[in-house]
Symmetry: C2
Subunit: 573 residues, 2 copies
């Protein structure tokens, strides 16, 4: 079978799993007619009860399901329905397993009736998973046509449709309901989501734009409220970028906090810079809920790379105590207003201003963040991503003969020479030295904050733009003018292994965020970025910032995100 | 200058730092006449007061120094004197900086008098460091002639004799006194300690034998009580082997618990299997003291690879609570009696028997430990150590033209091809899979222990013999018959990243530990091991076992070691 037929068969077989009654009566109108398919648009296909359920956040849902006021079945049905609609609008799903989910939900309900208590802390909560998770009963393609009907490209392993990633099983033990796996760019190495199976996942709030990537399906699905919370992965921004582009909260935990064991991956075994797994959701509370629950399962006894660090209420409370104390006891934030290379788009600049003013209004301290050169760190990251010269990726494409799509081709199109052990060792030393240099810079801010401590977190954009325009965001490219992205903010976090959240701030508004007329770009990259801003196209796009904490400070980062999120509430709509 | 002259000049310059009054009146008699230079032998050169001080463990010392009953100066002087004697007996020092130490001690005393309180929790405690630590004022050769008068082989870095490793500075902040750096095998990749500068470090308890390695100088020095506690490193057994061979307690913490930042290393940048730093001492209490103190300094703010895990009293107390509860609440230990390949020497078998009987007498549970094949794991480790084909090591030898000594030459003599990124990735995946398999085996023992938990720790030998005989222990060799060591027990721990302590058990006794006459070796390696046992030569050698805990369970492992150590006390003399 040629790759086109294989891809189409797969695509059709997934779509066929949508019950007829959940099919859209007619295709979604083009973006020019219906830019935004969230909110009222998708609601028209749902019952009031379904809307009530699906527009409740994960914390609210488990409040109902764990005391038996909502059944797991009705919650699961509502999210399955909405996810099916979402997929028809923006192509955000790779796998659909509603039947299995409804069956699991029925068992949950039976358990509840019989025992008078929930199965676990996430009883009946639907959780979506990026298509790197292996889940019983379905396959994992990770967007590769060559992985269809295989286990990670190999047949006859005995693991096909049986093997389950550790975190998937952990979520089940907690009572969560698994029901869909979400779309990714093939290779995972892109900031937008496209592959030869589902084609392209659009940004549901603004269908002219990308939903981000690589956890793009998660971003799109949760934004449409087809899922209350889901798990993505992040090796260069892949949780934070789609969270930001879709107006969601998300967190990239430090490596070794959340179990990655048994996940499919790209370039698996590269261990200089590890991909991490983390949640995206519609509320900070949901992120905290799922992280706390996962850690309650002692994942360090199931994943050899997870550190024995339980959820630490005390780290979280330390933040709230400072805020409650008021007066001299304030928080301090580093503010990163520029990367020195490109001028941010007007909506991003405005979002940063809103956050800074909010922080100041709350009485916290602000310090200009002027860290070691990010480009120096990024050079290390980009080398890491090319250690095997593209061998793993080329092998995956060779399985089916499918072509690499745009941004991937520009990064990995040509097979390059592999790095040697000595070259890799040199990068590892360089990374450690960079981390140490950055750490000492962070420590040094204790002299500037007036709190007696270094900054509590750093506030920075994720990209110089709100959501990216399609095909304009190759992460790696030999041609610097080919990219208008600057992973200066997103990807540096991965090198530093910092726990970092996404805080939605506002939305692009063509009436406020006008073009910087007469602006003279400082360099070719700046010019590409500058020219890409079109207020008409960007209108309505989500804009977010990152809250960057130190390594293993997930509790602290979420507490800070909650505080700022509460203060920003009226801006986020 | 040729390497011989350079090495001799260095050796002489270090020896010249021993004050004339501390020089031995005549060379130590040969081993045949004076096998054991510890205890009474070395005491003859010390005053009663010096003996009192140096035979007090680290906990006892800080009890005196932190309340001002002993001055830092008298404690430092006593240990400097004893270390000087130790070095003259077994060649255990690479760097001597008594003057700087005495000056630091005087400042400590002045601080105490002025402020009425100690500088820190380790006020006035002499701490010895393996010659991988950079310490202000002295150089780091790591046993390489080519590193003399350089910073890690390079001149003009500005770091020579100025730069300090993070842990060295941390210890200073705590009030510790640094005074010597101890010997290592060049390359660090050997279980015995020899290089072209100090030649060979002998086992002070039995000078026919090796002191172990690579933290061999630490083992020898602390065994002679020329240091109450010191820090070594361990990538394949290098803390545990010298601790065991010298009748000491030691712990290999999991990677990321204790700061390694700024240390010299061999094959730096290989990050599949990281070397870790940890203490050796004359008591469990001393290990706990220094680890707890180091963690109190929040090393995760100084070393980007340290995880934010403070000392956890609760983990330690959980163990003591189980013991106190008695009755059904018991501990459970896995016992590893064989590696399936070689028959242990009689003293090692007896040591294991003593420990098992002790555990049973205490009422704890015993489970036969039958884990995944260790050889499979070791194959991964040995590949890791050859990633760069010997490039780093050859470069270090080329600096001076000095030759590789026996065990090193057999492993690294021939420069080999480097591993590629894909090959390294495959090893990383293999390692993770092995760790997971081992983890699941460990989890599975909950069905066997009767405690409701998996085993609390595993008790295993460190090697099939007590201390090694010189030149018989190449860690890596193309010729399997060239080695009589089996890193089956020591090195597997590094692959698994388990927190593992050494518990001294007994000493070889020629009247009890007789040769297995008529024994038929099962294979060539078993034959080499069998033939190496000579009760006359081994008489008096220390024998120890390991207490192997899971990852990041340092507190638990030390608690278990304390409990078993207390119960074994009468065997350890």
């Amino acid at each position: 079978m040629d790759w086109q037929t294989l891809a189409k068969t797969k695509r059709d077989s997934v779509n066929a799993l949508i019950p007829p009654s959940w099919r859209l009566p007619s295709p979604v109108p083009p973006a020019a007619e219906q830019r935004n398919v969230t909110g009222k648009y998708i609601q028209q296909f749902l019952s009031p009860r379904e809307i009530e359920i699906t527009e409740t956040d994960a914390v609210g849902i488990v409040k109902q399901t764990t005391v038996g006021s909502w059944t797991a079945l009705e919650v699961t049905e509502a999210f399955c329905h909405r996810a099916a609609l979402a997929h028809q609008m923006v192509n955000c799903l790779h796998e659909i397993f509603f039947e299995a989910a409804l069956s699991d939900a029925r068992k949950m309900d039976e358990y509840y009736v019989k025992n008078g208590k929930p199965v676990g802390l996430l009883h009946g909560l639907p959780v979506s998973l990026k298509d790197q998770f292996h889940v019983k009963g379905v396959e994992t393609t990770m967007g590769y046509v060559g992985w269809i009907n295989t286990f990670q490209g190999t047949t006859g392993t005995g693991k096909e449709r049986v093997f389950e990633s550790e975190l998937a099983s952990t979520l089940r033990r907690l009572g969560a309901i698994l029901y869909v796996k979400t779309s990714v760019p093939h290779t995972l190495m892109a900031g937008e989501t496209m592959n030869n199976i589902i084609t392209y996942t659009w940004n549901p709030t603004n269908r002219f734009l990308s939903c981000g990537g690589s956890s793009g399906g998660e971003g799109a699905l949760i934004s449409l409220k087809g899922s209350p919370v889901g798990f993505g992965t992040d090796i260069g921004g892949s949780i934070r970028v789609p969270a930001a582009f879709n107006g969601l909260y998300g967190i990239r935990p430090s490596s070794g906090r959340v179990p990655y064991e048994g996940m499919a991956n790209s370039m698996d075994g590269q261990n200089t810079l590890l991909s991490v797994v983390g949640p995206l959701a519609t509320s900070v509370g949901a992120l905290k809920l799922v992280l706390k629950c996962v850690l309650s399962q002692e994942p360090w006894l199931r994943d050899p790379l997870v550190a024995e660090i339980p959820w630490r209420d005390e780290q979280e409370n330390a933040v709230f105590d400072i805020v409650k104390a008021g007066g001299g006891g304030r928080l301090a934030f580093g503010i990163m207003k520029t990367d020195g290379a490109v001028n941010f788009h007007p909506p991003v600049r405005r979002a940063m201003d809103i956050v800074v003013k909010t922080v100041e209004k709350l009485g916290h301290r602000i310090v200009d963040w002027e860290p070691p050169c990010h480009q120096k760190g990024l050079d290390l990251v980009f080398q890491t991503w090319l250690f095997d010269g593209g061998t793993d990726i080329h092998a995956a494409f060779a399985l089916s003969g499918e072509p690499m799509l745009g941004p991937i081709a520009s990064a990995y199109g040509t097979l390059k020479e592999q790095y040697t052990a000595s070259q890799i060792a040199a990068i590892n030393i360089g990374k450690r030295a960079y981390q140490k240099e950055y750490m000492e810079y962070w420590n040094s801010t204790s002299a500037l904050t007036g709190t007696g401590r270094p900054v509590d977190a750093v506030i920075a954009p994720i990209a110089p733009y709100a959501a990216a325009r399609p095909d304009m965001d190759p992460v790696l490219s030999d041609d610097p003018t080919a990219k208008y992205s600057m992973p200066s903010f997103s990807t540096i976090v991965n090198l530093l292994d910092y726990s970092t959240s996404v805080l939605p701030v506002t939305r692009a508004d063509k009436s406020i965020d006008v073009v910087d007329s007469g602006y003279t770009p400082q360099n070719s990259q700046d010019e590409v970025v500058h020219l890409a801003y079109d207020p008409e196209i960007y209108d309505g796009a989500h804009v977010a910032v990152q809250i960057i904490g130190r390594r293993f400070q997930e509790e602290k980062v979420l507490a800070l995100t909650e505080i700022l999120g509460d203060a920003l509430e009226n801006h986020q709509l």
